[in-house]
Amino acid sequence: MSREVLLKVENLKQHFKVSKKQTVMAVDGISFEIFKGETFSLVGESGSGKSTTGRSIIKLYQITDGEIYFNNKRISIGDKQFKRLKHIIRESKEGYDGKKINELRAEVKRLKSTTHTDRLKEYEEKLSNAINTKVKINHKDIEELKLDLRQAQVDNMVDRDFRQKMQMIFQDPMASLNPRKKVIDIIGQGLVVNGLVSSEKEKEEKVIAILEKVGLLKDHLHRYPHQFSGGQRQRIGIARAMIMNPDFVIADEAISALDVSIQAQVINLLKALQEETGVTYLFIAHDLSMVKYISDRVGVMHKGHIVEMGTVEDVYENPVHPYTKSLLSAIPEPNPRLEKVRKRDIYDQKNINYTGGKIQHLSDTHTVLATDYELEKWLEK
């Protein structure tokens, strides 16, 4: 597997304001990378923030904080960063006199090379320093900051390339397919909207080609979604995503609504498509047994944090975090004799606070979110 990074999520936060007093912190500062051609899975219970993460990546939400890079290009930048940038510019305008200005400029140059998030923080520090020591901020620096702001605004816009290269498959195929449209129009819509086909005939040819790839028939072209079974409908959803020839597909609980026997069909199809096209998957699920089978790496989410991340072997064979252990112990197996004596690990969810923990590296691939004390305690067991 090549280790080229396709998607990089840095300190992503997604908060939803419910009322004046209450804000739901659905995702609260997570970072991960997804490499080209691999399948990365996010697992966790409902409300853990795994679906929100997927939706933030594909820009269904404006993110609260953090940055997301796709194909080495920034695609999202958090609201909080915008605010900070604007704040700095506003403050800077007031101006202060002094001789420290050259120092500050040199600093700004150096910061250019590091990531935006870190850079912003340091900008702020420099600014408060400048205010305290009454240094006037150079006009050029302000211009540079303004450029930064503009660049961030441009990066944050959805462009055509992004829309084609990142696709999504949803959980409920009945709810995600327009019941009044025929299969050919549902699957071909992306092509038409993006101007990738010039005639109806060309569209039809392309749709037929993709239908065959996902195991449907040419006869299905002019049927409506309700005329299909659940598994077939999910194949239509997959065809709609794959026809754009994407680099990256987010599958949000794509198999949860299907029967076990059909789940296997869909998973095998996704895997075959990956082998053929080299597409990268972000797989979001709560079913850990299917995840084990399809993924290269897994991140376990709980309450908006990634509590453990690693390769499938790391997470399934050597789980460290008690939440991961409780999830693994809950997987039902078709083995009555084992099930009758099996003990479930119960994870005490009261009084947990992940903000105190830091990301601890257990190996090159395996990380866990814990305080030093917790890590020691867990590793002892």
Binding site: S229, Q265, E333, N335
Partner: protein
């Protein structure tokens, strides 16, 4: 053991615009007192229709063409509406898949449980309230007297399903029908709910019919398993017989499509094709079109039940004495061998 319910050669069809769908095509089984019977099958196999018939809640376009459901010496299918109301919800209760849609969002959970109690039993309101709090405690809801006044939306999915179970148990039923009660829940919550149902069964000695499409889920619960396909039971037996020694290729397929946690495979096994259209069901074995081991007779005549043991029966021509010997797929054999060799 005492038979508590007997379903006899049940046939049900639904009138639809495109024709008569023969959803149930001759289903017979017994439910014994205190046991858990799991009915397993894909969507469209008829498992839910069977239980709806038992509850007397078939849709308006359904016709019972043949058969009987004997409960307490009476045929449920022949009862009047009033007689049915006496049984339904009081002696036979049901829990559904989605706890949000089966609870009333405008009523506190305490009231909802009390409602079912007062409906079926004569008691004072104050006594009923005490009983409800006991029940909430029984199904594992913390500080039940406070929760009495909560609305469904204030509870998590797992808690809601506990409330639904409490409602089902409020009338102290003889039979509890659980229709995919954990499918909408997370794995951790699922295991808690399964454990709860099992625990309650031990305490209250009720009989349970558990409907699911996932054989993994019921391994812990089921005493007996019936596998349904295209409106018929194709194999039934004791839990061990189905999990470790099944004979029908469809059961093999269901078992093999549950991913194996202990070994890594390249391809997940899946049953090819989809369930047949039951508007015009196949003449012979309905599974023949999806099976790897199809015989000529499969297309001509429906297989009868062949006896494997006193408790284990299989409807497949492969068990006929003249049929070629077909063994369970090798990878499944290996897996089962591994399961049985481990000590617990």
């Amino acid at each position: 053991m005492k038979k508590i319910l007997r379903v006899n050669d049940l046939r049900i069809s639904f009138k639809t615009n495109s024709g008569n769908v023969q959803a149930i095509r001759g289903v017979s089984f017994n439910l014994f007192k205190g046991e858990t019977l799991a009915i397993v099958g894909e969507s469209g196999s008829g498992k839910s229709v069977t239980t709806k018939a038992i509850m007397g809640m078939l849709a308006n376009n359904a016709t019972v063409e043949q058969g009987s459901i004997l409960f307490d010496g009476n045929d449920i299918l022949k009862l009047t509406k009033r007689e049915l109301t006496k049984i339904r919800g009081s002696r036979i209760s049901m829990i559904f898949q989605d706890p949000m849609t089966s609870l009333n969002p405008t009523m506190t959970i305490g009231k909802q449980i009390m409602e079912s109690m007062l409906e079926h039993r004569k008691m004072k309101r104050s006594d009923a309230k005490i009983k409800v709090i006991e029940l909430l405690d029984l199904v594992g809801i913390e500080s039940p007297s406070k929760r009495f006044k909560s609305y469904p939306h204030q509870l998590s999915g797992g808690m809601r399903q506990r409330v639904v179970i409490a409602i089902a148990l409020a009338s102290e039923p003889d039979i509890l029908i659980a229709d995919e009660p954990t499918t909408a829940l997370d794995v951790t919550i699922q295991s808690q709910i399964l454990e709860l149902i099992k625990e309650l069964q031990m305490k209250l000695k009720i009989s349970i019919i558990f409907i699911t499409h996932d054989l993994g889920v019921v391994a812990n619960m089921a005493d007996r398993v019936a596998v349904m396909y295209a409106g018929k039971i194709v194999e039934y037996g004791l839990s061990d017989e189905i999990y470790y020694d099944s004979k029908h290729p469809y059961t093999w397929g269901l078992l093999a499509s549950v991913p194996d946690m202990s070994t890594k495979v390249d391809m997940l096994y899946s049953i090819p094709g989809t369930t047949p259209n039951l508007i015009s069901p196949p003449v012979g074995d309905a599974f023949a079109y999806r099976s790897e081991h199809t015989l000529k007779i499969d297309f001509e005549e429906q297989p009868p039940f062949f006896k494997v043991s006193d408790t284990h029966y299989v409807a497949s021509w492969l068990l006929h004495e003249y049929a070629p010997k077909i063994e369970m797929p090798e990878h499944l054999q290996r897996r089962i061998k591994l399961m049985l060799s481990e000590e617990y």
